[in-house]
Structures are given as C-alpha cells and as structure tokens.
C-alpha cells in the first residue's frame, strides 16, 4: 500500500477570518473551549495555538494600505491567516520527547500519542513555533494531530473540510509545494509584490508540512524568520557537559591525591 505524504497550504489571501476551521477542529477532536475573553487584538480573542487550540485564526491589522483594507482607501489593512502545527520536516518536539509518544505518521505528520505521553513537558520548550502546550488539568501535552484518524480513513482534516474559501488546502505535499509557488507567482503578477510562501527550508527545521502564503513580513504573523531545532545545539551542550564531568573527575582525584591520608 502506498501512502502519500500530505500537507496543508494555508493561503491567507483568501482567508475571510470566519474561524470555521477553529470550530471544526474543536468539534471533531473534542477540545474544550479556551474561555470567553476579550483581547482587543482585532477579532482574535484566542491569541495563540495551545493545548486547547489546534487551529487559530490570526487577524493582522496594519497601516492603511490600498487593496488590503475595505473599499475605502483610509481603511486599515486587514488580513487573516489560520495558524496550525507546522508538522516540521525535522520536528523539535519529536526529537525531544523522551517517551517516544511523539511519532511521525505514515502521512508525514507529527502525531502525539496521548496514551503514551507522561506530561514531562520537554516538547513544549523544544518547539520553535510555540505550538505544543501541556494541559495543566489533564497533565499531558497536546497539539494538532493532523487529523490522523480522519486521514487514516481517507478523509480530509476537519479544518480543511470546513474551510469555505479553500484557504486551507490539503493534499499531497509535493503537489502543494508546486501549487504554492504557482499561487505566489500569480499573486505577484496581480500586483501583490509582498506575497510570499512561508516554508523555512533553509533552517534546521528543514521545511514544514503546513505551509503558509502570507503578505508582507512573516513576523507580523508571529512566524519566526529563522526557527531552529534544539538538536542543533546537541554537540555544544554535551561538550560543555564533558568538560564539567572531566573537571569534576580529575579535580576530585587531584584534590584527594594532594590532601594525603587524613
């Protein structure tokens, strides 16, 4: 049986900010609500991805910019982008997990097995995108499953299924990568010079399976320009550890050699 590596391509230029993806995700996965709070940050009262938010629509309000606001020039620019776990090619959380609870599925997604996770919390500080979070009531860490259960039976992930504008595209990763390039070219040809694909392939993350088409600087979407996987620092860390161990060992030996018999 051949299985294809699947991916998400989230196109912010056609997102209308309806949050159907957030709702569909919560419905399908049975995630609790995260409170009814008013943030004042545009229409985004959720803020960030977390243990109870696996899809999160960002509302980016900026300076007035022709073509990005409403039909009046003085309107603020307003963009929406549905954020999700990036399902990194080289995943920091997966590498950090000491229990093997976080695995790579046959669809290329990064899946956290809730029946194995013991809530050590190390994945939380290993994710350069701040996606994984420990649910303090439950004790375990949670994140987007890439709807592994739905994909298993040949269904689209719930968010992609619910998206009314096809802003969330789901399909074979290699095809989506081509689609993304094509779409960016098309947007640029239409005069949107700042349209770009966010897929940090030149970093230690090595590319993501949930890519984003954004306009302008990805940093205003809270997308880090240079995400790095902690394993990059493995050698540096253990070298220092070896130096400390050497100092401890030889220091102790020399100190007791020098002190003589008490």
């Amino acid at each position: 049986m051949s299985v294809t590596i699947t991916g998400f391509l989230t196109d912010s230029t056609v997102c209308i900010g309806c949050k159907a993806c957030e709702v569909a995700c919560k419905e399908w996965n049975g995630i609790r609500e995260d409170g009814l709070n008013f943030s004042g940050n545009s229409y985004d009262n959720t803020g960030a991805l977390g243990d109870s938010t696996w899809r999160h629509v960002k509302f980016i309000e900026g300076k007035p910019q022709p073509g990005l606001g409403g039909n009046a020039v003085e309107q603020l620019s307003w963009e929406f982008s549905s954020d999700v776990c990036k399902h990194c090619e080289v995943a920091g959380c997966l590498e950090a997990c000491p229990t093997g609870a976080i695995v790579r599925t046959e669809f290329g997604g990064v899946f956290l097995q809730p029946d194995v996770c013991n809530g050590c919390g190390y994945c939380v500080i290993a994710c350069p995108f701040g996606v994984v979070q420990r649910n303090e009531d439950d004790g375990r860490a949670f994140k987007c499953t890439f709807c592994y259960d739905r994909q298993k039976v040949g269904l689209k992930p719930a968010c992609a299924q619910a998206c009314p504008t096809e802003s969330i595209k789901f399909g074979p990763l290699d095809r989506l990568q081509l689609d993304a390039e094509e779409r960016v070219q098309e947007l640029r040809a239409r005069g949107m010079d700042d349209a770009q694909l966010y897929d940090p392939r030149d970093t230690s993350v090595g590319g993501i399976h949930a890519m984003f088409i954004v306009r302008g600087d990805p940093r205003q979407y809270n997308l880090p320009p240079k995400p790095e996987v902690p394993r990059t620092y493995l050698k540096a860390g253990w070298t220092s550890s070896a130096v400390a161990a050497g100092l401890l060992l030889f220091g102790s030996m020399l100190a007791f050699l020098g002190s003589g018999k008490q």
């Binding site: 940050n41 229990t99 004790g139 790095e228 400390a244």
Partner: protein
C-alpha cells in the same frame, strides 16, 4: 449535570471582572484620551496593529516551560547527588578517607531519592513515569537524563544499602558489591551532576539556548560547590574538600563575570528585574564570597580557618540553590519576550515601544 461539566474546567465566566475592565478602559479613555491597557489603542485608530516591528500584537511566540517548583530544586539535588558520588569514590580510592566515603554514599542516596520524587511529581502524569523507559533517545537530553537518573539512582541506593549492611555483616561479598555499586554510581554521577544544563540549554528558550555552551559547566560546578559545602557542613574537614570548593568557587566567579559581560538581548533576564537580582545574588554567594573566605582561611589560625570555611560552605550551598531558581525564572521571563524569536531584539534594545499605534501617531522609526 452533564459529564462534560465534570470533565472540563469551567471557563472564565466572571462577568463582573470583565465589566470592571471595560469600566477602567472607558474611564481612562475619557480622562486621558487614550488607553494604555493591553489590546486597546483608541488614540488615532480604534485597533491595535500588527507590524514587522511589533510582531503579532506583541504576543509571545514561544510557550513558557510548564515545569513547577519541583524542577529548580531537582536541578539542585541532582547536581549535589551526582557530584557527591564522585567525591565519595575519590575519597575512598585515593583519599583513604572511609568516613567521608561512607557519608558520601548516604548523601548521594538521599539526593537521588529526593531527585526522583521531585522529577516524577512534576510530570503531568506521574503514574506514567515508566514511559520514560520505553525508549533510549540519544538526541533527547530528557531521555538521556532519565536513564542516567535510573542508573545513578539504582547504584547509589545500592551502595548506601551495602554500607548499612556492612556495619552488621562483615561479608566480603557485601563489601565487593558495595564498591562496585559505588563505582558505577560515581561514573553515572559524572553526567548526572550537569546534564540539566544540557537539558535546558538545548531548548528554544532564548536565554537558555544562548548559554548552551556554558550552562552544563556552570551547573556542574555549581553542583560540585554545593556538594563540597554540604559535606563540610556535615562536619567533614578533609583538605581535599576545601581545595575542591576553592576551585568550584573560582570557576563560578568566572561564570559570574561572563554572565555580566555577555550583554546580548537574549541574556537580559540574567541582569534585569527579579530574575536578574536572584542571578546576581546566587552568583555572588557561590562565587566571590566563598572564594575570598576560603583564601582567607588559608592564612588564618586553625580554629578561625575552620569557621571561615564553614561560612564559605553555607554561602556556596545557598548560592548554588539560588542559581538554579534564577535560571529557571530567567527562562520564564525569556519565553515571554516576544521579540527574541522574531529577531526583533535589536528593535527592542533601541527602545521601540512594544505596541506602537497607527494612524494619528507616526509609526516608530527604526534605529539607524
């Protein structure tokens, strides 16, 4: 009552609190013409803005470490236990100080017992702690650490148990088993005393990650300093302990100077605010103070010297403990700094406000 209500915590439905906040915002808007509260910028435009300079409304990208109070204490007890087992083995095989070696076995066993309890109780699912033993993952310091603790804990407990048995039964087998356990405990104590530095250094938290090259050494020496001090406070007067304490304090002093002089935006929490205060207090107590006291002790009379070394020991132990608290605290502060992962540190250093307004006010100018 539905089962849902039992399973899930009640979300925030405190209408009074929200009304109060709205009232605050309204009155501030009336009196000042603009509102400083997070999320509200009515001056110029009714909406806050997202921009490359302000990130996403200044919301932090990274998550804070989910660990609770157990973890800084674990860093301390683990560092002490690991170092003590190495000192104990050296005391027995090289120093011929059997009393010290015996106490080292007990301290290491007590430290490892405490460490295990602390580590397991901090898990979100403590009953599943054995899941750590499902796999060996060399690329995960948490996995390596869990295995090191398992080996170290087993053999330091065995060594202490053999020591206890030996007082009643003089069998060669018990002595042999105890010595073998002691050696394995010392060998695994070497990484166990400092791996926590690798653990937090190999993370995305900027202040920890920035110091990944020095943190293990720092934590290792801090642990050694505290280990020596605790043994001295238990009444041991071996000159080797003083020598080790002198060396550890000297390295801690150098580390303190490094932390103070390495002025990168990511390392700010080590110098500013409450976390900076604790870092400095811990640094002074474990570096220069015991170093000066131990040097002074070398030139003092016998009784005076012993007093000075005791004060140095108490200072080192307290400093080492504070150092662990400081680093964990700094990690939390660092995770909240939204500008660092977006590489907006330079903008922040230049004093650009967290959330400039759009519209009436000019957007902040970038530092030239």
């Amino acid at each position: 009552m539905s089962t849902d209500a039992l399973q899930y915590p009640t979300p925030d439905r405190d209408d009074a609190a929200r009304e109060r906040r709205l009232q605050e915002i309204r009155s501030q808007a009336e009196t000042k013409g603009r509102v400083e509260a997070i999320g509200i910028r009515p001056a110029g435009a009714p909406f806050p803005s997202a921009s490359p300079e302000t990130g996403y409304y200044g919301l932090p990208l990274l998550k804070q470490p989910p660990w609770k109070w157990q973890i800084p204490i674990y860093f301390f007890t683990g560092g002490v236990a690991g170092s003590v087992s190495v000192i104990g083995a050296a005391a027995r095989w090289i120093g011929q100080d059997q009393d010290l070696a015996r106490d080292c076995r007990y301290v290491a066993a007590a430290g490892t017992a405490l460490s295990s309890v602390l580590l397991i109780s901090d898990l979100g699912r403590p009953a599943r702690f054995l899941a750590m033993m499902r796999v060996v993952k060399l690329q995960s310091p948490m996995s390596v650490g869990a295995w090191t603790l398992a080996v170290f804990g087993t053999f330091s407990a065995a060594a202490a148990f053999a020591e206890m048995l030996r007082r009643h039964y003089r069998f060669l087998a018990i002595r042999f088993a105890g010595n073998v356990a002691e050696l394995i405990s010392a060998l695994s104590g070497l990484p166990f005393s400092n791996y926590t530095g690798v653990l937090i250094g190999m993370s995305v938290i900027p202040v920890w990650n920035e110091n990944v090259c020095t943190l293990p050494l720092h934590f290792g020496m801090s642990g050694l300093n505290a280990a020596v001090s605790i043994l001295e406070l238990l009444g041991h007067n071996n000159r080797a302990l003083n020598t080790l304490g002198l060396g550890a304090s000297a390295i801690e002093t150098i580390e303190g100077i490094y932390v103070e002089t390495e002025r990168k935006p990511a390392t700010q929490p080590l110098r500013r605010g409450p976390s900076g205060l604790i870092t400095r207090l811990g640094g002074v107590l474990s570096g220069p103070i015991p170093l000066a006291l131990r040097i002074a002790a070398a030139f003092a009379g016998r009784r005076r010297s012993r007093q000075l070394r005791r004060v140095a020991a108490a200072s080192s132990a307290a400093g080492s403990f504070l150092t662990r608290i400081a680093w964990v605290h700094a990690g939390h502060v660092s995770a909240k700094d939204w500008g660092l992962p977006l590489q907006l540190d330079a903008a922040q250093e230049a004093g650009i406000p967290t959330r400039p307004t759009v519209g009436a006010e000019k957007p902040p100018e970038k530092a030239a």
